[in-house]
């Protein structure tokens, strides 16, 4: 009786050990490719919000008050900063926005990194043409939807999503203007 119990545990452990071993091999084979894929994903977001650069902004990081600010340089001159900003007020939860800001305090571009908005309605925040309406705004501008007195279009039937994006952009822009740009001057 004890024999067969021991045999059972032994077989199960062997199966698990073989599995773990094979998996560790597959893991080693794919680890780098996976890390590279994530890096490319983030880089393409950065490229969308930054002007031309020749450094590696995802590796050139300023730590400001616990937040990561990515620095883009061209010819050794800083051409823009990028940072993520989150608003919990999306229709389906958090919306994470990546903002590119030039040294003169103006937005170079925004990109939605993460959202759970309704497809076809709130998900229109992914439209490039809508995102362009944030270009060249500064922290002094009223970044809000038209309904709230600002200049950003809301979508009929979906005010919550664009409103949340405005909040995220405003938060991020104010942060970088106060903590980075004004320190440099």
């Amino acid at each position: 009786m004890k024999d067969s119990n021991f045999k059972m545990v032994l077989i199960l452990c062997t199966v698990a050990a073989v599995a773990a071993f094979i998996l560790s091999l597959v893991n080693m084979a794919t680890k780098e490719k996976i890390a590279e894929a994530y890096r490319q994903e983030f880089l393409s977001g950065l490229t969308a919000v930054l002007p031309e650069y020749d450094n590696e902004p995802d590796k050139t990081i300023l730590e400001v008050k616990g937040k990561k600010v990515y620095v883009a340089k061209n010819d050794n001159k800083t051409v823009a900063y990028a940072l993520t900003s989150t608003s919990p007020k999306g229709y389906g939860g958090d919306i994470v926005v990546l903002i590119g800001v030039r040294p003169d305090g103006r937005i170079n571009g925004i990109e939605i990194l993460r959202h759970a908005e309704t497809p076809g309605l709130g998900s229109k925040i992914n439209d490039e043409s809508w995102q362009k309406s944030f270009d060249n705004l500064t922290a002094k501008d009223d970044i809000a939807v038209k309904k709230d007195g600002g200049i950003i279009d809301q979508f009929s039937g979906a005010t919550i999503s664009p409103r949340a994006v405005c909040e995220a952009v405003d938060k991020g822009l104010t942060f970088i203007t106060e903590n980075v740009l004004e320190q440099e001057n």
Binding site: A20, L23, K89, G92
Partner: protein, 192 residues
């Protein structure tokens, strides 16, 4: 504190595990024919989900991550869940043979309940702290139970109605679930 309450409400209603995240569907359709089996299953799932959530969270942060074994997450988690269900089966058989018998085949099937593995993985993906994990897991389990019990109540009634021939049984159950999901969508935007 407010943040935790929002997390809880979001897990139960807004992002309901069954009607919004599509987790836990097999038992949802399998057990919902009778109300009392549904209630029993809800308790069992809540218990297993909570304990599994705690154990897997601890293992992830004290073993898998420190040793770079993240890729073993699926295997380790599912084994923890399978063992836990086995344990619950043994205990339940002793404590309440009636419930054990009425749950029947569905008890071991809790192992393959994607809601439990799903919750365990989500806890890690969302980067919850221990308290957040507890709130989210219990909330999700209660959300599952809520949906299951409501659905079961409706199904008992539908059984008595005059359903067209090829809709009887599973197809009409799906249409019903769709309407229930539509109702739950009304909770979106509740958490502001």
């Amino acid at each position: 504190m407010a943040e935790l309450i929002l997390l809880f409400i979001s897990a139960v209603l807004v992002n309901n595990f069954v009607l919004s995240r599509f987790l836990g569907l097999c038992p949802f359709f399998g057990v919902s024919r009778k109300l009392d089996t549904a209630i029993g299953m809800s308790f069992a799932v809540t218990f297993v989900m909570t304990v599994a959530g705690i154990i897997t969270w601890i293992i992830q942060y004290s073993v898998l991550n420190p040793f770079g074994l993240g890729y073993l997450q699926t295997i380790v988690f599912i084994l923890v869940i399978a063992s836990l269900v086995q344990f619950v089966e043994i205990v339940l058989e002793k404590i309440s043979p009636a419930l054990y018998n009425s749950l029947g085949i569905f008890l071991p099937l809790i192992t393959t309940n994607c809601a439990i593995l799903g919750a365990a993985i989500l806890n890690i993906q969302e980067g919850f702290s221990f308290i957040q994990m507890l709130v989210f897991t219990i909330g999700s389990a209660l959300g599952f139970g809520l949906a299951l019990i409501i659905f079961s109540g409706i199904r008992e009634r539908v059984e008595l109605a005059d359903v067209p021939k090829y809709f009887r049984g599973i197809p009409i159950a799906f249409v019903t679930a769709g309407i229930l999901a539509l109702a739950f969508m009304g909770f979106s935007g509740l958490v502001k």
